[in-house]
């Protein structure tokens, strides 16, 4: 695995947290921040889609550059997209590895999926009332 | 009309002057009455000891720091667990049980009224929430004023009326019962990691001394005509040689009240140490008791230490830090803006520790050397000296010299050199125990007039019937039976209803919260005082309108209203 996925709060994620089925939430929660040099290395442009894969699963995200990250680290706000990658092992502390999940990142043309899509992948049934 | 008749009770009701006689007690609608009708439910007490419900006038059972004691101690929680069963909720905890755990255990011991010893006004809502989850006891809250900025400013300005106004506004706002001062001035100093070391030390920035705070608050209390006196946790708690501070404090107390004390000194044991270090700590109980005997205007509670594990918790933040440095175990601290502090650490009182043995002896000595039992109440400062479930053992120790002698053999062998306990012959009798566990508390708290602590017609029908027949047993010899008997009532009756029987809790319960409201002239009402309001909004982190405890938190509140002498 070539990157370490860190997750955390962002103010936009917090703003849309009670509207998880809106495009605004989807956009924020599926944004992956990456160091610009890492982006250059992989020939990823700002706004490109990437397939992010961990041992747990894979999900499509949109890349934005971030000067505040170190190389090798990527950041996604907490939410269902990041959690598609994070394992449920807690080291018997109750807490998953939200701050250090190894992931591979490859460019893709695939579209972003919605929260409902993700939940359907988990076995749910979408509600669009 | 619910009626209950208790027959053949061996009644001791000190406030009514009944020192032990076989009587019937009639109850209707939760109150004691002259007699009942023919259809009353009957309990045959069979000559068993029957007392007004027990009252604990100083215990830590509800509120922020108590709950933090639970929160930080899963090991204590697992040390005492019971299942949900019948009407009983799940309980956890040994030294800091859950609210239902406290309530059931007190109930089983015949206690029906408990005063929470320390409530920070800013966090009062929390205390009240836990009160409603302590269903078998009527609850009262001592309200902390020891580091209250507005009080200290009034003290500095020598404005006792202003101090009274702060107290009146605060008690009414937070539904508190009485003034509590914990290490007055010391908790503010602790805001910057300091403490005060005598009653004449100056509190940093505020330029007042503990002595001035105590003097002013005593007078403010009496101006407001509050039922209870100022309730003081003296400065220098737990410090070798602190008896001097305690004596100095008591000496200052004027006699301002006809029916009760002017100052209540809590957990006196922790304030009666001689010596200068932990190595030469000794008992100064004789000096303290002599002073108390000479000053009827003062009442104390024991603050008895019993051996074993417990958790200490107090608003006295700096003291807990000192204790932490000795024990090096866990330490929690919680300073409350503009008001007070608090600290919590677990401790183990060991018979192998000379210091702990001396502490154990001092509490008993204070009870035995204070001549008038109305001046010395039985307490452990639960859970600081020990969990309150040790009360029966303390009663047995006070009633039996033989028991004390037997215990002495188990103590650290040098103990006898540092304490006078083993030269004291006095053995307390049933009447004195009744005084020290309910009647004196009711009098000291000033709640006899709302029907607490006695069994005369009109009183609340809070009654404890113990499986002890005073006419048949000799407590001096049969102390084990005394201990067992006080540990588990035959019946505990709360407001006319049996709430526990032979240790089994039989109803869910619903308690009252007793609070005080002093009426003061409008010009002294701080809610419309621009200076007070401005400072409040500037320095507190909650808005003034969000500070008072709403009525919804006291579903069965009992307000004692007073008229201030202003």
């Amino acid at each position: 695995m070539s990157f370490i996925l860190n997750t955390g709060r962002t103010i936009r994620q917090g703003s849309y947290v009670e509207r998880k089925n809106t495009p605004a939430y989807r956009e924020e929660a599926s944004t992956l921040y990456m160091h610009e040099v890492d982006m250059l290395d992989r020939e990823i442009e700002s706004g490109d889609h990437v397939r992010v894969e961990s041992t747990q699963g894979a999900v499509v995200m949109r890349v934005l550059p971030a000067a505040w990250l170190s190389r090798g680290e990527v950041f996604v706000c907490l939410g269902p997209y990041a959690n598609h990658l994070v394992g449920a092992e807690t080291h018997c502390t109750g807490m998953p590895d939200f701050k250090d999940t190894p992931v591979n990142i490859t460019p893709t043309d695939a579209p972003l999926v919605s929260v409902a899509d993700l939940m359907e992948q988990c076995g749910g049934v979408r509600y669009e009332g | 009309m619910a009626e209950l008749l208790i027959r053949n009770a061996f009644v001791i009701d000190p406030l009514s002057g009944i020192r032990g006689e076989i009587k019937d007690i009639a109850i209707r609608d939760g109150k004691i009455v002259e007699d009942t009708g023919a259809n009353a439910e009957v309990i045959d007490a069979q000559g068993c000891l029957t007392l007004p419900g027990g009252i604990d006038s100083h215990s830590h059972v509800c509120g922020t720091k108590v709950n933090f004691g639970r929160y930080m101690s899963p090991e204590d929680m697992r040390a005492g667990r019971t299942s949900r069963k019948g009407v009983m909720h799940v309980t956890s905890g040994y030294s800091v049980p859950t609210t239902f755990g406290n309530s059931y255990r007190y109930s089983t011991m015949g206690y029906t009224t408990v005063l929470e010893g320390a409530m920070a006004p800013l966090e009062a809502r929390h205390t009240h929430e836990e009160f409603t989850a302590t269903p078998h006891q009527d609850m009262l809250a001592n309200t902390l004023f020891d580091g209250n900025w507005s009080v200290m400013e009034a003290v500095r300005d020598k404005d006792v009326k202003r101090a009274a106004a702060v107290v009146a506004w605060t008690l009414a706002a937070v539904k508190g019962f009485a003034i509590k001062l914990t290490n007055p001035g010391g908790t503010e100093a602790w805001g910057f990691g300091k403490d005060v070391h005598s009653i004449h030390d100056t509190v940093p920035h505020f330029g007042v001394t503990p002595a001035e705070i105590i003097d002013t608050m005593i007078r403010a209390n009496e101006i407001l005509n509050l039922p209870h006196s100022v309730h003081l946790h003296c400065n220098n708690l737990g410090v070798p040689g602190n008896y001097q501070t305690t004596l100095e404090t008591i000496e200052r107390v004027p006699d301002l009240h006809a029916r009760r004390q002017t100052l209540y000194l809590t957990h006196a044991q922790f304030h009666s140490y001689g010596g200068s270090t932990w190595k030469d700590i000794s008992s100064k109980s004789e000096d303290i008791a002599r002073m108390v005997n000479a000053r009827p205007q003062v009442a104390i509670d024991m603050g008895q230490v019993m051996f074993g594990r417990t958790t200490t918790m107090t608003a006295d933040g700096p003291m807990e830090f000192k204790l932490y440095m000795l024990h090096q175990n866990k330490w929690s601290n919680h300073d409350v803006e503009l008001e007070t502090g608090s600290g919590i650490i677990p401790v183990f009182y060991s018979r192998k520790s000379l210091v702990n043995c001396v502490m154990w002896a001092i509490g008993l000595e204070l009870a035995l050397l204070t001549r008038d039992p109305w001046q010395c109440m039985l307490s452990t400062d639960n859970p600081n000296g020990a969990p309150f479930i040790k009360y029966p053992e303390i009663i047995a120790l006070l009633m039996s010299r033989r028991f004390r002698d037997r215990e002495s053999e188990l103590l650290e062998p040098r103990t006898g050199h540092y304490v006078p306990l083993f030269a004291i012959d006095r053995e307390l009798d049933w009447y004195e125990i009744a005084v020290m566990t309910r009647a004196a508390q009711a009098k000291a708290l000033g709640i006899t007039s709302i029907g607490k602590g006695h069994l005369s017609p009109g009183a609340e029908a809070d009654i404890a019937i113990y499986p002890l027949k005073p006419q048949e047993i000799d407590p001096s010899a049969e102390y084990k039976q005394v201990m067992a008997g006080f540990g588990k009532t035959r019946y505990t009756i709360k407001r006319g209803r049996v709430v526990s029987r032979d240790g089994e809790v039989v109803v869910e319960g619903a308690n009252s919260t007793i609070w005080t409201k002093a009426r003061i002239p409008p010009e002294l009402d701080l809610s419309s005082d621009p200076e007070f309001v401005k400072k409040f909004e500037q320095y507190y982190t909650v808005r003034m309108s969000n500070y008072p405890v709403q009525d919804v938190y006291l579903p069965r509140g009992v307000c004692i209203g007073t008229e201030a002498s202003l």
């Binding site: 080291h91 018997c92 | 101690s73 175990n329």
Partner: protein
């Protein structure tokens, strides 16, 4: 006496069984043994096919053999004070809690908290042990106090947390923070580990593989030879954890 307990098929096989009653002394007394499946109480034969062979006059003559889907059975051997338990496969959490004597053999893997707060006796796990092997309970100051736990495979994180007596021997690797808060006893790690002995105040830990991310708060106190599996190994000696006024000893194999 030999008691053979083989699990029966269950409708909800992932709901853990709590079986602190499965200890030799209980079978000797022929108590009505109950176990719990979630919030439901079950008799032993609702969960197991039970076979009993031969007599016993004392608990140390009782051997219990567990087989089948045993990986979700918790608290087997809790407060065990004599006799022997053999688990043919995996075992659930808290196997051997508070055990004071006797022997537990686990042929498969052990879930977390193997030998929690153990006082004495022997636990031998032939597979891997999960996190908190030989550790304590939340908030308590002491973990395992006596006896021996031997794990032939690997162990997880927080192995021997708060160890205060006895010996924990992990032949394979450990995860993060083995021996954290350790205050007594001996922890032996045959393989690699990460950040050993954080905040230790006493006891001895020996790492015969690689100790990664060694904490900066240990003082190097020279080197010594130690024996492991019949081999003499040159070890660096550290004292610490200095962050905590610690007086523990940490041996780490020299490269």
């Amino acid at each position: 006496m030999r008691v053979i307990l083989e699990t029966k098929p269950r409708k909800k096989p992932k709901i853990p069984i709590e079986a602190e009653a499965i200890i030799p002394q209980n079978f000797l007394l022929k108590n009505d043994i109950r176990v719990y499946e979630g919030n439901k109480e079950r008799t032993l034969d609702e969960i197991f096919y039970v076979t009993t062979e031969g007599p016993a006059v004392s608990a140390d003559q009782v051997e219990i053999v567990l087989s089948g889907e045993t990986g979700v059975i918790k608290r087997v051997g809790e407060y065990m004070n004599a006799g022997r338990i053999v688990i043919e496969g995996d075992i659930g959490m808290h196997c051997g809690n508070f055990m004071s004597a006797g022997e537990i053999i686990i042929r498969g893997n052990a879930d977390a908290w193997l030998g929690r707060e153990m006082r004495g006796g022997v636990i031998r796990c032939e597979g891997n042990a999960d996190h908190y092997c030989g550790a304590g309970y939340r908030g308590e100051k002491r973990g395992m106090r006596g006896g021996t736990i031997e794990v032939l495979g690997n162990a997880g994180d927080f192995t021997a947390e708060y160890l205060s007596g006895g010996e924990v021997r992990i032949m394979g690797d450990c995860g993060d923070l083995p021996g954290v808060e350790m205050r007594g006893g001996t922890l032996i790690i045959g393989g690699d580990c990460h950040r050993p002995c954080g905040n230790m105040t006493g006891g001895t830990c020996m790492v015969f593989g690689t100790a990664r991310a060694l904490l900066p708060t240990f003082v190097n106190a020279g080197s010594e030879e130690r024996e492991f599996c019949g081999q003499r190994v040159e070890m660096n000696v550290f004292r610490g954890d200095v962050a905590n006024r610690g007086k523990g000893t940490l041996f780490v194999r020299k490269k």
